[in-house]
Structures are given as structure tokens and as C-alpha cells.
Symmetry: C2
Subunit: 221 residues, 2 copies
DNA sequence: GTCTATACGATGATAGAC
DNA sequence: GTCTATCATCGTATAGAC
């Protein structure tokens, strides 16, 4: 019988490794309760492992959290990066950008909350400016920079072409982040407001339409 | 000599009580680091008091946090309540609503972050639906309900008058919250994006204009 | 009202057996 | 790779002197 190596990137057959299970569970817990609101014991019992086994896979809680954040931003960067291959008018690229961002938040429920935390919390990673002796940027921070700069370039292009209004670019970026990320991070409040589960197919599709129309109207000259 | 009682609500003369100092410091710390990211020792040393003195003013950390949240939402409710006396067309009342909300977030820097946390965190107050044995709504939760319901009524009125588009009301509320609250909660990222201090006079005034125009365009029929 | 002293569970992290 | 045992530290909260 022929032997088939099992490292062929076949996600169907491979059972998830402990490492992946830990990352998944930690993502959900950190999203709900924040960095210091979740203990290593709590994560360990959720993945049905001893607490010490976590420290075998991740040298510290800080490393685990950093990797959870980076995974989320990696998915976002990849999804938005594919859009860069779309070479249409700015309006079409804006549309694709919004679509991909909404889809990414919708596919992984904890993502929006974690993203929001990475932007708002001073803990456990304080803002680079306030950091003692100017620490280097973490992987997830560099990914965020790249994503934002790509969107900024899109806005500048649209404005210089006269397709978009001459909005304050910084404010426009803030607005778009707020509109897309907060919704999927709002959990209970969001469900109460829209009257159904936030991550259901119809709710996500409606959100995409509403956000797209809102931003289009806000930006168009 | 005539005796003047000192409980005349004269904020100029009264030195702030320990209680007020604690609430102010705790507001800033909880905003930056979240509920479980701040310890009572930390708060105590920041107000230059012994740790045990905090428990004299507040029976528990949970009570302190609840009161901090309620104070923030009280300021918001009061500011927006004054708008209800404006009896103009829906467009004018929407304008006043946005203006008041932005002004409230701008006047108290930690406010937006705390508000965001109260909407996103499951800790320390889990969503009412998930709570064991259906706990009663906390003061700050009731205030939030009132504020949102007033805004919902404004939207419904505008739509039924044909002044606003027939947007999804729940999504529109989410959008407005995201646009207004996230900006003032984003701290370091926001400052990098707009290139100056978020809470400076010019930045706040520009934000008000941008948000107002964005929402107006998004809602108008 | 503020303090010192104390209680005791939970925290992140390490050492070493299997 | 997973476990048990252990450590120092920090968490909230209380008791009681002044």
C-alpha cells in the first residue's frame, strides 16, 4: 500500500492539534472577557488540559494573547489583500473592501471584539508612544498598520480623482472602523436592536448592504 | 454672624470629597484597563489613600464599577434629555442629538471607553439574557435603554414622515453608536490617524462636522 | 475616615515525574 | 506532551485601633 504523507495541507483529515485548540478557545474567552479577565486555568479547563500543558505550547500568557490577536489580524489582512487584485474603479474597490471586512468579522464571531480590544485597551500592550524605551511593534500591530494604510491609500485615490468628497481622511477611517467593527462586537445589545442573531446569514447580509450604502453615501462627491 | 449651610450645590467652593476623587480616578483606570485589569490597591494608591479606605466608601469593587458606569451614562442621558425640549423638525433634532452625544464624549475622555466596555464586555456584568435566574437590570443598563429608545423613536418618526430613508432601524442605531463612541474610545490609534490629540478643540469640532455630515447623508431620503 | 494587619482564594509560572 | 506539586504574588475583603 502506498503511504500518504499527512502534511499535505488537507484540513479535512487532520485532527486539530492541541495548539490550535488552545488558540481557538483562548480567542473566544479573551474576546468575551479581555486579557486580565481570563486565567490560564480557565483556558486549560476549557480545552480539557492541565494548566501546565498550556505553558508547554506557549511560553507565557502574554505570548498566547499576542498570537491570538495576530491570528485574527492575519485573517483580516489576507481577506483584504485579495481585494488588492481587484483593479477596478475606486468605488468598486471600496465596495469589495467593505464586503471583505464584513465577511471576515462575520465568519469568526470573536474577531470583532478582539480587534476592538486591541485598539482600545492599554493592557497588556500599552500604546507604542507610551511604552518605556520605545518597544518594537508587535506582529499584530504591524498587520494593523498595513491594513489601515491600504485603506487610506484607497481614500486618497478616490478623493484625488474627484470621486469621493474631500473628507477628513483620518476621521473617515475612524468612521469606517467604528461602523464595521463595533456592530459585530456588540453582542447582546446588537441582537436586541436588530431582533435576531447578529451572525445569522440574513443579518450579516443585511448589515453588509446597510453599511455599504451608508459609507457610499457618506463618501461620494 | 450668619451661618451659611455648605450644601448649596456650589461646586466652586466645595473641595472634592474622597468619594468623588475615587470615582474620578477609578473612571480613568477602568476606562484604560477594564474591570479586572484594575485592582483596588491600584485605585487606592492613585488617590493616595489606603486600600481599606475604598471599602469604606464602596461596599465592593463591583459597586464601585457599577457607580462609575452609571455616572457616565447619567451625564449622557442628561445631555440628550435636554435635546428633547428642542421641538423642531426631525433633521434639526437629529443634528442636536449628534451634537450633544459628541460633546458629552469629548468633555469626559474616559467616557467613550467605559461606554464601549459596558456594551462589549461580558464581565463583570453578563448580558441580561445569559444571567442566571434573570437578574434585574442595573441602573446604568436602564439609562442605556432609555437613551437608545429615544433615538429609535427619532428615527422612526423621520422615516414615517418620509424625511429619512427606510433604513434598517437596528442597523442604523448600531452605526451611529459605532461612529460616535468608537472614535473617542480609540485613543492612540485615533491620534495617529488624525495627527493630533483627539480631545483638542479643533479635533472635536471637526469630528462633530464630519459625523454630522456622514449620518445626514446616510439617513436622508 | 483613614489606617495597619490579616485572611484566603486565585493568579502566572516553574520543576520534575511519567 | 501531559501531568502533579509547589512557589511567590496579587486579588478582594474584613477586623479593629486611632
Amino acid at each position: 500500500m502506498t503511504e500518504y504523507p499527512d502534511n499535505l495541507d488537507s484540513p479535512v483529515l487532520e485532527p486539530p492539534s492541541s495548539r490550535e485548540k488552545i488558540l481557538e478557545v483562548a480567542e473566544a474567552l479573551f474576546a468575551a472577557n479581555g486579557y486580565s479577565g481570563v486565567g490560564m486555568r480557565q483556558i486549560a479547563s476549557a480545552v480539557e488540559l492541565g494548566k501546565s500543558s498550556l505553558f508547554h505550547h506557549f511560553p507565557s500568557k502574554l505570548d498566547l494573547y499576542g498570537e491570538v490577536l495576530d491570528r485574527v489580524l492575519e485573517r483580516l489582512e489576507v481577506a483584504l489583500g485579495e481585494d488588492d487584485e481587484v483593479r477596478g474603479r475606486v468605488t468598486e474597490r471600496l465596495e469589495h473592501w467593505i464586503e471583505s471586512a464584513v465577511a471576515t468579522m462575520a465568519e469568526d464571531p470573536p474577531a470583532a471584539r478582539l480587534l476592538l480590544r486591541s485598539l482600545v485597551d492599554e493592557e497588556p500592550f500599552p500604546p507604542l508612544e507610551l511604552a518605556p524605551a520605545g518597544r518594537e511593534a508587535l506582529p499584530f500591530e504591524r498587520r494593523l498598520d498595513r491594513v489601515i494604510n491600504r485603506f487610506r491609500a484607497l481614500l486618497e485615490e478616490g478623493i484625488s480623482e474627484g470621486v469621493f468628497r474631500t473628507v477628513s481622511i483620518g476621521d473617515a477611517i475612524q468612521t469606517v472602523i467604528g461602523v464595521i467593527v463595533f456592530h459585530f462586537a456588540s453582542g447582546d445589545l446588537g441582537e436586541t436592536l436588530i431582533g435576531e442573531e447578529i451572525f445569522s446569514g440574513v443579518a450579516v447580509e443585511r448589515r453588509r448592504r446597510e453599511v455599504s450604502e451608508f459609507i457610499r453615501r457618506g463618501l461620494m462627491a
